[in-house]
C-alpha cells in the first residue's frame, strides 16, 4: 500500500514549503518532494512597466538578495540600451555584488547553518541556529554577526540603503564611490578577513574530524554544474561567460553567452510545486538538471584569481579527492571560500581611488527590443529576460532564479538523506529516527534556498512527520515543537 510521509514546516509565514517522502506498496522510497506552495507571479507585475523600472521592481522579489536582482536587471537594461557602462560603473557594480555575496553567505553560514554544521545535530532547540553558536562559540558568533554587518555596511554606504537601494540603473550607477566610503571599507576589511580565517579554521578542523563522513556523503549526487567564469576561466560574479562542467569535471560547454539561454535551458513544471525545474534541453529533463551557486562556481572555475582564495579553492578541491565536488554539504565550505574571494575582490577594487572618479553612467535611448542579462547571485546564476515594445514597456519577461535551478538537486538531496536515515523498506508502525527532521532540513539548507527566509526559524520551527497509509490512517507520527 502506497504511503506518504509529510513534513510540514509551519512558521510565522505559513504554507511556504513542505517535504513529503513517497513510499510504494513494498515500503520502498519512490521520491522525495520539496513543495513550494506559494505563488508570487512577479513576472505579471512587471508587464506594461518601463524596463528602466526593473532594477527597482525586481529587487522587491527578495529582502535578502535585492541587490542581485538589481544588478541583473540593470545588466539587461544595458543591453536594451546597447551600451557598455563606463569602467568605473562596472567596477562599482562588481563591488556591490561582492558585498552582497559576502553578507548573504555570512547570513547563511553563521546565522542559519553554523550550529548544525559546527556543533552537530541536536533536537535541543536552544542549541540550534545562531543561539547555539552564541552559547558554544561566542568568538565565532560575534565575528559572524560583524561580518554580515560589514557586507551590509558596504551596500548601505555605496547604494544609500541596506535593502532595496535604487542606485544601480541601466547604463551604470548613480554615483561614484566616495572617499569616506572607501576609507570605511579599508578600515573594516582586516577584521572581516580575520573572521573568514577563523571560520575556515574551525570548519576545516571539523572536516578532518566529526564531519568527515558528512563532507563526502551528505546529499551526495551527480549533476552538471553551471556558473559564470571570466575570460581566463577564473571565478567571476559578473561580466563573464557561462561554463558547464559534468560531475567528472569535463567541460561540456564553455564561453556561452547568456543570449543562448532560451535555446539552452527549458523549464519543466510539476503539478505539486510552484517552483519550476530548469534543465539543459540537450540532455533532457532528468539528465539535464544542473546545479548553480557557490559549489557550482568553485567547480566550474579554473581558479579564483586572488592569492588566499586560490589556496582555499585548491584545498577545497583536494579534500574531495575528485576533480569536482558533488556532496551537497560542500556548499557550506564553498560559501566560506567565496567569502574569502569576495573580501580579496573588494580589497582589490578599493586598492586605489579609481572608483571614486570618472563617468559612472552611459546614457542612451532604447536600441533593442529584447535582451537577456545574467549575473551571479549568492545562490547562483540569475537570468533576466525582457522583451519590450518600441517605447520600452515590458511585454514579456522571464526570470530564472538560482533556487529554481537547484530545485531538482534539492529533491535528490532529500531523497539521498531519507535513504540513509530510514530503515528501508518501511512497514507500518515504523519508528521515525529522532534526527530525520534535522537531517532533511539540513539537506535543504545546504542550498540556502530563498525559502530559507521562511524556514530559518531554527528550533522554533514546528516540524511534523507523518507516515500515512493510503487509507489515511496515521502509522507513525513525529513532530518537533
Amino acid at each position: 500500500m502506497a504511503r506518504t510521509i509529510t513534513i510540514d514546516p509551519v512558521t510565522r509565514l505559513e504554507g511556504h514549503a513542505r517535504i513529503t517522502l513517497q513510499v510504494d506498496d513494498r515500503g520502498a522510497l519512490v521520491a522525495a518532494r520539496f513543495h513550494v506552495t506559494e505563488l508570487r507571479g512577479f513576472e505579471t507585475f512587471c508587464e506594461g512597466r518601463p524596463f528602466s523600472e526593473m532594477p527597482m521592481l525586481t529587487a522587491r522579489i527578495c529582502g535578502i538578495c535585492p541587490v542581485s536582482h538589481q544588478l541583473c536587471a540593470a545588466r539587461t537594461g544595458d543591453k536594451l540600451l546597447a551600451v557598455q557602462p563606463p569602467a568605473t560603473a562596472r567596477g562599482l557594480r562588481q563591488l556591490l555584488n561582492l558585498a552582497q555575496i559576502c553578507q548573504s553567505h555570512a547570513l547563511s553560514f553563521f546565522y542559519l547553518s553554523s550550529a548544525d554544521v559546527l556543533l552537530g545535530w541536536t533536537d535541543d532547540p536552544d542549541r540550534r541556529g545562531i543561539f547555539g553558536l552564541i552559547a558554544a562559540d561566542p568568538e565565532l558568533a560575534r565575528a559572524g554577526i560583524r561580518l554580515r554587518q560589514f557586507g551590509q555596511g558596504v551596500i548601505e554606504r555605496l547604494a544609500g540603503r541596506r535593502i532595496h537601494p535604487s542606485w544601480v540603473v541601466p547604463g551604470g550607477v548613480r554615483s561614484a564611490l566616495t572617499p569616506a566610503t572607501r576609507a570605511w571599507i579599508l578600515e573594516h576589511l582586516p577584521e572581516a578577513r580575520r573572521t573568514a580565517a577563523l571560520a575556515l579554521e574551525r570548519f576545516k578542523a571539523l572536516l578532518d574530524g566529526r564531519l568527515q563522513r558528512d563532507a563526502r556523503r551528505f546529499g551526495d549526487l551527480p549533476s552538471l554544474f553551471m556558473a559564470l567564469v571570466a575570460a581566463d576561466g577564473s571565478w567571476a560574479c559578473s561580466d563573464g561567460a557561462l561554463r558547464i562542467v559534468d560531475s567528472q569535471g569535463v567541460i561540456v560547454a564553455d564561453r556561452l553567452s547568456e543570449d543562448a539561454m532560451p535555446s539552452m535551458i527549458d523549464e519543466a513544471v510539476e503539478p505539486w510545486t510552484y517552483l519550476r525545474f530548469p534543465y539543459l534541453r540537450a540532455r533532457g529533463r532528468i539528465d539535464g538538471h544542473y546545479r548553480v551557486g557557490p559549489l557550482a562556481r568553485l567547480n566550474v572555475c579554473s581558479g579564483i584569481g586572488t592569492p588566499w582564495a586560490d589556496r582555499e579553492w585548491r584545498e577545497f578541491r583536494q579534500r574531495a579527492g575528485a576533480p569536482v565536488v558533488t556532496s551537497s554539504f560542500a556548499y557550506h565550505h564553498a560559501r566560506l571560500v567565496e567569502i574569502v574571494a569576495c573580501l580579496e575582490g573588494i580589497a582589490r577594487l578599493v586598492d586605489d581611488d579609481s572608483l571614486c572618479q570618472g563617468r559612472v553612467r552611459a546614457r542612451a535611448a532604447l536600441n533593442a527590443n529584447e535582451a537577456i542579462g545574467v549575473s551571479e547571485a549568492p545562490r547562483g546564476t540569475l537570468f533576466h529576460h525582457y522583451v519590450v515594445d518600441d517605447d520600452g514597456l515590458i511585454t514579456r519577461i522571464n526570470l530564472i532564479i538560482a533556487t529554481g535551478q537547484n530545485n531538482r538537486a534539492m529533491n535528490l538531496a532529500l531523497e539521498a538523506v531519507a535513504r540513509e536515515e530510514l530503515p528501508w523498506p518501511i512497514g507500518p508502525g515504523v519508528e521515525l529516527p529522532a534526527q530525520l527532521l534535522n537531517r532533511l532540513e539540513a539537506a535543504i539548507r545546504c542550498y540556502d534556498p530563498c525559502l530559507s527566509c521562511s524556514t530559518h526559524a531554527a528550533g522554533a520551527m514546528a516540524l511534523q512527520v507523518q507516515l500515512r497509509g493510503a487509507d489515511g490512517q496515521v502509522w507513525a507520527d513525529d513532530r518537533r515543537p
Binding site: 518601463p50 535611448a365 517605447d391
Partner: protein, 221 residues
C-alpha cells in the same frame, strides 16, 4: 487696495479684499495640504483638501477659490475636516495604483506628503485596482496613468503658461482620464513643445522624465 480683517481659528488676520482664503490661512500661519493648487496656476478646487468651515456657510468651502471678506470666521482644523481630508487622500490612493515602494517618485511626491500630513496609516476604503496604461511614446517623458490623480495641473500649465494646450481630461466620473492631443499617444502630438512644464508641476509620479534618454534633459544624477 481695500483690506479686510477675518478670523482664522480665532486669530485675526488682514488680507486684500477678494484674495483667496488660502492667503488668509498663510497669513495666520496655517498650511493645509493641497494637491490641485499651484501658486502660478488658476485655481480649480478639484482636490477638496483645502476645505475649511466658514461661519454661516451651509457646508465647508474650498479655501483656494473662496474670496476673503470682512468679518469672516474660519475653522481649519475641526474633527469633521480632519476626517474628511483623510478620507479624500484614502480615496485618491484607492482610485489609482500607488505602490510607493516601487515608484520613482517615492520620497518626492506630494500625494505621499499629503498622506503623511493627514495621518493616513492605511486605506479604509476598498482599492479599485483599475487596469491602466503607461504612455511611453514621448522620447523624453513618460506618462503613467496608474499614478495620475487628475489634479489637472498639467492641463493648466500647458494651457496657461506654455500655451500649447496638449493636455485635457476625457470622459466623466470614474472613467475620467488625462489625454494628450486628440486622445493620441503623447509622442504623436505635434503641438507638444517638450518643454517639461507638465512634468515639473505633477504632484505625483504620473509625469516623469524617462531614464533612457541619450542626455538628461535636466541637471542631476
Amino acid at each position: 487696495m481695500a483690506v479686510v480683517t477675518l478670523h482664522v481659528d480665532g486669530m485675526a488676520v488682514a488680507v486684500p479684499a477678494g484674495a483667496p482664503l488660502l492667503q488668509a490661512l498663510t497669513a495666520a500661519g496655517v498650511t493645509l495640504p493641497t494637491l490641485c493648487h499651484h501658486p502660478r496656476l488658476s485655481p480649480v478646487a478639484a482636490c477638496r483638501l483645502c476645505l475649511v468651515e466658514l461661519e454661516g456657510a451651509p457646508r465647508p468651502v474650498p479655501a483656494c477659490v473662496t474670496a476673503a471678506a470682512e468679518g469672516q470666521r474660519l475653522a481649519t482644523d475641526t474633527p469633521a475636516l480632519r476626517q474628511g481630508r483623510r478620507l479624500i487622500v484614502e480615496l485618491l490612493f484607492a482610485e489609482g495604483n500607488h505602490p510607493c515602494a516601487v515608484c520613482v517618485a517615492d520620497g518626492d511626491c506630494e500625494l505621499q506628503d499629503a498622506a503623511q500630513r493627514v495621518g493616513m496609516d492605511r486605506v479604509t476604503v476598498p482599492y479599485r485596482h483599475p487596469p491602466r496604461q503607461v504612455d511611453a511614446s514621448h522620447p523624453l517623458f513618460l506618462l503613467d496613468h496608474h499614478r495620475c490623480i487628475l489634479c489637472s495641473r498639467c492641463v493648466r500649465v500647458c494651457d496657461e503658461i506654455e500655451g500649447a494646450h496638449v493636455w485635457a481630461m476625457a470622459e466623466r466620473g470614474g472613467r475620467t482620464r488625462l489625454i494628450a492631443g486628440l486622445d493620441q499617444p503623447w509622442g504623436a502630438v505635434d503641438s507638444c513643445t517638450s518643454c517639461g512644464k507638465c512634468v515639473a508641476v505633477c504632484p505625483t509620479g504620473a509625469l516623469v522624465t524617462r531614464e533612457d534618454v541619450p542626455l538628461s534633459p535636466w541637471p542631476g544624477p
